[in-house]
Symmetry: C2
Subunit: 104 residues, 2 copies
């Protein structure tokens, strides 16, 4: 059921500012009240794909002190457009489904 929606949600979270992979996983978990429990094997390929497609841009952090280096992703211009598109699609899609379910 989640097909395609994950990409939209990741773009949505990134629209608030740059974030790294693990952070996206926990934010999705919290903000969905446990409905989106992504494993790394689910999220990272999405990020790589979106980077290939030019929707996001990544950079490695220079770690301060003992910190581990993290790979931060931020929205590219194209990602912003895609996000708007996907949100429109989602609205139309969910309204249509609700409409069919509520018929009669």
């Amino acid at each position: 059921m989640k097909k395609g929606v994950l990409e939209m949600l990741v773009l949505r979270l990134l629209s608030e500012g740059e974030k790294y992979g693990y952070q996206l996983i926990s934010e999705l978990r919290e903000r969905s009240q446990g409905m989106f429990l992504l494993k790394e094997g689910t999220l990272y390929p999405i990020l790589y794909r979106m980077e290939d497609d030019g929707l996001v841009v990544s950079r490695w952090s220079e770690p301060k002190g003992k910190e581990v280096s993290k790979k931060y992703y931020r929205l590219a211009e194209e990602g912003r457009d895609t996000l708007a598109e996907l949100e429109g699609l989602w609205e139309a899609f969910s309204r249509t489904v609700d409409g069919i379910l509520e018929m009669e």
Copy 2:
């Protein structure tokens, strides 16, 4: 984006009475205002899968006059339960997605 939702919608249409494949395709097209344009290669495998899983039962019609014989599907008990389940999932899912999209 439609992942899993198609099965739910087909079950929903069948909950109104027995229907045949081609009919389901056109009802989905009309009732979704053209958002769900299923090809046969999409719908029929769904029906076969659901029959294997015991969600629906099929019968061939005895054609009257020049009519072509059609394969009618109706909801099995298990299909009714699954439909209720899927509707609950859909509600929770779409509310969660909307919630994340509307944050801040």
